[in-house]
Structures are given as structure tokens and as C-alpha cells.
């Protein structure tokens, strides 16, 4: 193991602190840029209606026992009949979301804006850090770590002899990139702090097929056995009254 490296205080003053400050400032700047570019999303009638429909069908499924059998059957027919039931999706009409996305330029535009506000500043800062600060140790963490952490903390330094508790400047950049979320939530308010990790997750999870939800709900309703809960409740009420009268 090599002896303790002595880090120049100039590194602290000119690399460590400026890097963090720049990352924070960029985060704030990006928040305001995103706020400027955000277009209020117009609600689509069909999507709203489908969401509400699913809610209503779900409550019918959950509370089916509380209405008389006749009412339940009427409602089930209303939702699931094959001709014009609300939950029935005719075959072929189930368009896939991919096609829908291409047909709607607004949607693609929104995505692009989101991506632009994420990718551009990130590439720029990464290039900047790489160009000016690559290849040296910028800080030391005050506790020892196992060698597994080498790739995380010493990105850009290919020396196996340096102790793992030293942090390279490029790694410091990454630590800041992913670790400043708490700070942003302090500065910008709780819900505004969107860090990049979250955004990346959002990218993956979009494009759910709404018609699929409808047909699942329809199947769920179809297999329900209606059992009226009221006669049982009546007996329970009788017991309550008996107790009350006593």
C-alpha cells in the first residue's frame, strides 16, 4: 500500500469546490429552463374518459355485493356486452401507442424537450470535467473501503496501487450528478427535485396501452359471482338492535 498522498490545497480550492458549485448551479438552471419549456398538457377527452370508466368499473367490482342482483346485472351488461358495452374494445381498433405517438407531433415534441434539457447540459459538463480535471485525485474520504469501490470512486485513474479512499475528479462529478437530489429538494421545493436517475426511469416506463386496461377490467367483471351482502347485514343489524334494546 502506498503512503498517504498529500493533496494540494489548490485542488480543493480549484477543483473540488468549483465542481460541486457548478453542478448545483447547472441543476438550478436546468430546472428553470424546463419550467420555461414545459407546455401545459391538454387533457385528451378519450383518455380522461377511459380513466374514469376504469375507476367506476373497479368500484363496481369491489362493492358488487352492496347492490341488488338486478342492478348489478344491468350494470355488468352495460359495461361488458359485446355490441356497445363501455369496456368492450372492438378488435382492430386497439391501436398501438407507437402509432399514436407518431400521429401526434405534440407528444414527440414533449419527449424531445425533456430529453434535450437532460442530455445537453450533461454532455457539456461531462466534456468540461473530462477536459480540465481528468486523471487526478481530487479528494479523500475519511474511511477505508474495499477494492470493489475502485471503479466507482477512481474513474479515470488506472492505478491499482492508490488506496481506494481517494476519489478522482471524474468520480467526484458522478457522485455530484447522482447525489445532489437532496440539496435540490431543499432549494427548489420537494416535488421539483427531479434527478437524472428518476428521469431515466421515466423514459423506460412510458407507452402503456390503455385498451389493455379496459379489457382486463372487462374480464374481471365477467368472472365475478354476484352475492348480495344485504341479507347477512340485515341479520347483523338485528343483533345490534337486540343488544340496543336490552
Amino acid at each position: 500500500m502506498a503512503e498517504d498522498l498529500v493533496l494540494d490545497t489548490a485542488i480543493r480550492d480549484w477543483v473540488l469546490v468549483p465542481l460541486s458549485v457548478v453542478m448545483v448551479l447547472i441543476g438550478i438552471l436546468r430546472y428553470f429552463v424546463a419550467k420555461l419549456m414545459r407546455s401545459s398538457q391538454a387533457l385528451d377527452l378519450k383518455i380522461v374518459r377511459e380513466g374514469q370508466l376504469i375507476l367506476r368499473a373497479r368500484s363496481l367490482r369491489a362493492a358488487a355485493g352492496f347492490v341488488p342482483a338486478k342492478s348489478f346485472r344491468a350494470r355488468r351488461f352495460y359495461y361488458t356486452n359485446e355490441e356497445n358495452g363501455l369496456l368492450h374494445v372492438p378488435k382492430g381498433q386497439a391501436q398501438n401507442t407507437q402509432a399514436q405517438m407518431f400521429s401526434d407531433p405534440n407528444m414527440a415534441m414533449d419527449m424531445m424537450k425533456k430529453n434535450l434539457s437532460m442530455i445537453i447540459p450533461q454532455t457539456l459538463t461531462f466534456a468540461w470535467v473530462n477536459f480540465f480535471f481528468s486523471g487526478f485525485v481530487a479528494a479523500k474520504i475519511p474511511f477505508p473501503l474495499t477494492p470493489r469501490f475502485r471503479s466507482m470512486l477512481q474513474n479515470g485513474i488506472d492505478l491499482s496501487t492508490v488506496d481506494v479512499s481517494y476519489v478522482s475528479s471524474r468520480s467526484w462529478y458522478f457522485l455530484n450528478l447522482f447525489g445532489l437530489r437532496g440539496l435540490f429538494s431543499l432549494i427548489l421545493g420537494e416535488e421539483n427535485a427531479m434527478d437524472d436517475t428518476q428521469r431515466m426511469m421515466q423514459m423506460g416506463g412510458f407507452g402503456v396501452d390503455p385498451t389493455k386496461n379496459l379489457s382486463t377490467e372487462k374480464d374481471g367483471l365477467d368472472i365475478i359471482q354476484h352475492e348480495w351482502a344485504l341479507p347477512k347485514i340485515e341479520q347483523r343489524a338485528e343483533q345490534i338492535l337486540r343488544k340496543l334494546v336490552k
Binding site: A42, L60, A62, A63, F66, V67, S71, E234, E238, I240
Partner: protein
């Protein structure tokens, strides 16, 4: 609907503010949060904040929501001049805002300039056709004009889209009851029961509607729903108890002369309800006990 605990808190704060104990802003916030309708108090205390430049500037951006709240309260109290001032201040600050547009529409409504209000709302709906508040305003307007048929029409259109909005279902149910369209009202109450199956008020209202419709089957169902109200309230609901008594009597009359084995269980429930009622009256309102006792005797529920 406001829960009992929150209402108590609201009343406490209100008396504190009324007696000059401060906390007006907290009171206004609570009213806003609970959606309570205490327009006179809101108007009084809200104006006292708005007329005091120091207190007003201390609110920061919240100042504008206070303007909105006071404007609505003023409209409710027919203080049209005050409302006009508030709305003017808001539209200076937020020109072209839909939210202020709604207030302007409501101002026209308060002046009973129905045609103008209608036009204003139609213009707003062009921009955002799915605005729930505006769509509900239109219903309210139809109701205020004494035109329940139009209100029903608007509400049905609204519910075609926002079909999970249970407040709208309740409103529709109440209008249908007023119009004596009980079948439709029963449908709405069923929808409400499905939506919130453990709210006793919906069970009770559904039972009332079924009882009013009449017919043996409906009344038997109504009795079950009165029983479930009793179950949900622990027998504390007087109306449900009366309902059980009446259902028992009517079922007894309707099934008279038919086979006896069906009848065997039904009088039991209603006489139990009658006893529970008498006990309740004895505790809470002894001076009316004799009245109720004779009535129950006439109905042959107690001996």
C-alpha cells in the same frame, strides 16, 4: 362533507377569530381546505386582512388566493361591489387567466345576467373543454334559473365523461328526487353505494327512494337497506329506525292473506326497531315519548 373533528376545530378557530384572538389567516386556510361554506365570516375576516396593507404583504403570493376566496364569499353574500373589486385586482395581476375568467362568469351569475354568464363560460370552454369547474357551474346555473330539466341534462353530459365523480352523482340523485323521478334517483344512489359502500347516508337515501317507489319487492329491499344503515351507524340513526318500522308495517299489509311462513320473521325486526326508537326517545326527548308510544301502538308494533 366535513368530519366531526375538523368541524370542531373550525368552530373553535372561528370563535377565536370572532373574539379578536387573531389567527384569521389560519381560519381562512382551514375553511378553504375543508371546502366549508361560511361566506359571511370569510368575507369579514378576509376583508380585514386585505384592507390592511401590512398584513396583506405578509402573505406573499398567497395574497391572490385570498382575493379569490374573498371574491367567492362576497358573491355568496351578494356583496357584488366587493367581489368586483377583488376580481378586478386579480385580472390586473393575471390577465387572460382561466381561473379569473371563472370568477368573472360567477360575477355575471350573481348579477343574474344568465345569458352573459353563459357566453363567458362558453368562451372559457373553448380553451379547455374538460374543465370540471366550468361544467359544474353550468349545472348550478341551470338550477339557479329554476330549470332542473336542463341541470339534469348538463349533469348527465358531465357524468358521461367524469363518471367516477361521486359528488356529481349525489347532486343528480337529489335533483331526480326533487323531480320525483325515483327510478333514476335509485340508479344514482346505487352508483353512490358502489362508489363508497360504507357511507350510511347513501344506504339510507337509497332505502327512502325504494320505499317511496312502493311495491312489495322494493319495500323488502328498502327494509334491507334501512337495516344496513342501522348496521353502519350502530342503531343511532332515527330515520333508519322509523324506516324499519314502516317497512315492517307495509310488508305486513301487503302479504296479508298470503302464505304465513314467509311472514314469520318480518314483524320481529320492526318491533325491535320500535323498541329501540322508544328507548332512544326516553333518553333524549322524554316529552315526546307518549306521542311515539301511541303511534307505535296504532301501528301494532308494540303491545
Amino acid at each position: 362533507m366535513v368530519g366531526a373533528a375538523e368541524e370542531a376545530r373550525l368552530n373553535r378557530l372561528e370563535s377565536q377569530v370572532d373574539n379578536g384572538g387573531g389567527g384569521a389567516w389560519e381560519y381562512l386556510c382551514l375553511v378553504q381546505k375543508l371546502g366549508a361554506r361560511r361566506s359571511e365570516k370569510v368575507l369579514k375576516h378576509g376583508l380585514s386582512i386585505l384592507n390592511d396593507p401590512r398584513a396583506r404583504s405578509r402573505l406573499g403570493v398567497e395574497e391572490w388566493t385570498l382575493y379569490e376566496q374573498v371574491a367567492i364569499a362576497a358573491l355568496d353574500c351578494q356583496q357584488i361591489d366587493v367581489a368586483k373589486e377583488c376580481i378586478a385586482a386579480l385580472s390586473m395581476k393575471f390577465p387572460g387567466s382561466i381561473r379569473v375568467g371563472k370568477l368573472e362568469g360567477m360575477l355575471l351569475e350573481a348579477k343574474e345576467a344568465w345569458a352573459d354568464a353563459e357566453k363567458a363560460y362558453a368562451r372559457l370552454l373553448e380553451d379547455s373543454p374538460l374543465d370540471q369547474v366550468i361544467l359544474k357551474r353550468k349545472v348550478a346555473m341551470a338550477k339557479a334559473q329554476g330549470n332542473p330539466a336542463a341541470a339534469v341534462e348538463y349533469l348527465n353530459k358531465y357524468l358521461e365523461i367524469f363518471m367516477a365523480d361521486h359528488d356529481a352523482w349525489r347532486e343528480l340523485a337529489e335533483i331526480y328526487v326533487n323531480l320525483q323521478m325515483y327510478k333514476q334517483a335509485a340508479y344514482c344512489y346505487e352508483e353512490l353505494i358502489l362508489c363508497q359502500p360504507i357511507v350510511p347516508l347513501y344506504h339510507l337515501a337509497y332505502a327512502d327512494v325504494l320505499y317511496t317507489m312502493g311495491g312489495l319487492e322494493n319495500i323488502q329491499t328498502a327494509k334491507k337497506y334501512y337495516a344496513s344503515t342501522v348496521n353502519l351507524t350502530g342503531g343511532k340513526n332515527t330515520r333508519a329506525l322509523y324506516g324499519l318500522c314502516l317497512c315492517g308495517v307495509v310488508i305486513g299489509q301487503l302479504t296479508k292473506g298470503r302464505n304465513k311462513d314467509e311472514k314469520a320473521e318480518s314483524p320481529d325486526m320492526s318491533s325491535l326497531a320500535a323498541k329501540a326508537l322508544l328507548k332512544d326517545y326516553k333518553e333524549r326527548s322524554p316529552e315526546k315519548l307518549s306521542l311515539v308510544t301511541t303511534m307505535m301502538k296504532n301501528m301494532k308494533l308494540i303491545s
